[in-house]
């Protein structure tokens, strides 16, 4: 087996023959996938195709019925993974300020208060240099875009090697969506930035953020297509794969 976890060029995520059944319904079957360090991958498919389920498998939130998997050389849930959920605003804890919400991943691993402050200043410098996000506000008092920014800062504050995003921009207007897309792209492209797995429906996300698009389809779902999103015919290839 290759040295996993990216330490010597091995994959950060290695899924082999994954099968997931929910109740008596098979959701995923024979899904094999690997994500290398620095790679940016989109998982696409129709509603209910099993995209979020596959992400939950990678996060260790969903048990598998078949296959083997490792994430950062660990059996999930793995340390060193950042996560932006489908409704980032709804996932923020309303009883805490944004400051407290953002540093929760550091507190979960036992970092001190001063380490949290340093990491917060650093992530704010990278993602919000103009200080548009009021860290002392509570989530309910912020716009959708600001909450989204806070959720992205929370996902990146612990400097993860792998970032998993589940349709993170779906609730935003086009302007906020473009700004968040740019922030995410620059965070992933920065030196030492995380590899990205992005579940999305938006073809602009696919074309501007990722290197490769995998299409889940069928019932139970499996990987039907893998498309290089940098290719000249990428848009047409993705649209054709989604229509098939």
């Amino acid at each position: 087996m290759d040295a996993p976890g990216g330490e010597a060029g091995g994959p950060l995520i290695a899924l082999d023959g994954i099968g997931v059944t929910l109740g008596s319904s098979p959701i995923l079957a024979d899904v094999s996938l690997s994500v290398d360090p620095g790679e940016r991958l989109a998982i696409v498919g129709h509603n209910g195709a099993g995209k979020s389920t596959l992400l939950d498998v990678m996060l260790g939130l969903r048990p598998i019925d078949a296959g083997t998997l490792s994430v950062l050389d660990q059996a999930p849930p793995a340390k060193g993974v950042g996560f932006v959920p489908q409704e980032p605003g709804a996932s923020l804890l309303p009883w805490y300020t944004m400051r407290r919400n953002i540093v929760l991943p550091l507190l979960a691993r036992g970092d001190s208060g001063s380490a949290c402050d340093r990491a917060l200043a650093e992530v704010q410098g990278r993602l919000d240099p103009e200080r548009t996000l009021d860290l002392d506000a509570r989530p309910e008092n912020l716009s959708g875009g600001q909450r989204q920014l806070g959720a992205l800062m929370r996902a990146l504050i612990a400097e993860p090697r792998l970032l998993l995003c589940d349709e993170p921009f779906s609730a935003l207007d086009p302007g906020a969506r473009a700004r968040m897309r740019e922030r995410l792209r620059s965070a992933c492209e920065a030196p030492g930035g995380p590899a990205l797995v992005l579940v999305t429906h938006d073809i602009e996300d696919m074309l501007s953020l990722v290197d490769r698009v995998v299409v889940l389809s069928g019932r139970p779902a499996t990987i039907a297509h893998s498309i290089d999103s940098g290719g000249a015919s990428a848009r047409a290839d993705i649209e054709r794969a989604l229509a098939s």
Partner: protein
């Protein structure tokens, strides 16, 4: 500028006026009927000689101790049951069964255990409070937003961190509602236990003593005072709930 009184004051004055008309004019005559003037006099005299204050204090203390004890037991019990699907599946049917039993039916059992004293009265209030609080807490945990659970689990939060950062706050709104129900139920239970097994002091025993003495104004005074105390406690807890749980509204 024209000042309009709060609607509840209009209702209150209307009810008292109607009460005065039917009783003080002799429209309604019965030994079980007392007018607002006699009732007010019974209240003033009761407070003046200290006996009504002592009875009110005794009942309030039983409710506060019982509900406090119920909170100490019910909150951790609800968290313990609610945070595990296995424990919830095992224990929730039992809690539903207990919920169907009027708490006062447990009182004779507690009398056998603790004897004829306040421990049995406080115990039955505590039992009723613990049950309602635990049920609300279990329901509150089940209603936790899945995205919040997902994010905290994904960041590797321990069970203790999940409890402190998420479940405790998720169950607070339900716990405050449960506390209001527990206080209302506790007041009923405390008063009834004072009535059925004579307590040295308490609003329930005062009402029974007034009935034995054919003192209708005394009974009305206890009824009114109990209603006012229960209502004030409910409103105070509701105000506290709105202030503390700012995110739920």
């Amino acid at each position: 500028m024209k000042v309009r009184p709060p609607p509840f004051l209009l209702t209150l004055f209307s009810v008292i006026a109607l009460w005065a008309v039917v009783t003080e004019t002799g429209l309604l005559r019965h030994r079980a009927v007392a007018g607002p003037i006699d009732t007010g006099r019974a209240l003033l005299e009761g407070f003046a000689d200290g006996t009504l204050g002592a009875d009110l204090g005794a009942t309030t203390l039983r409710v506060v101790l019982g509900v406090g004890l119920g909170l100490l037991v019910g909150l951790p019990l609800g968290l313990w049951i609610g945070t595990s699907t296995r424990r919830r599946d095992l224990l929730e049917p039992g809690m539903d069964f207990l919920r169907a039993i009027p708490p006062l039916l447990v009182f004779p059992l507690l009398l056998l255990v603790f004897g004829y004293g306040d421990r049995a009265r406080v115990g039955v209030v505590a039992y009723a409070a613990a049950l309602v609080i635990a049920l609300y807490v279990v329901a509150g945990i089940q209603r936790a937003r899945p995205e919040r659970v997902r994010v905290l689990r994904a960041m590797g939060a321990s069970r203790w961190q999940m409890l402190r950062w998420l479940h405790f706050y998720e169950v607070l709104p339900g716990s405050m509602t449960a506390l209001r129900h527990a206080v209302a139920t506790g007041l009923v239970v405390a008063v009834v236990t004072e009535m059925v097994v004579g307590a040295p002091a308490g609003l329930g025993s005062r009402a029974v003593n007034a009935q034995i003495a054919y003192d209708a104004p005394g009974i009305y005074a206890v009824i009114l005072l109990t209603g006012v105390v229960g209502s004030l406690a409910g409103h105070a807890l509701l105000a506290l709930e709105r202030r503390v749980i700012f995110w739920a509204g």
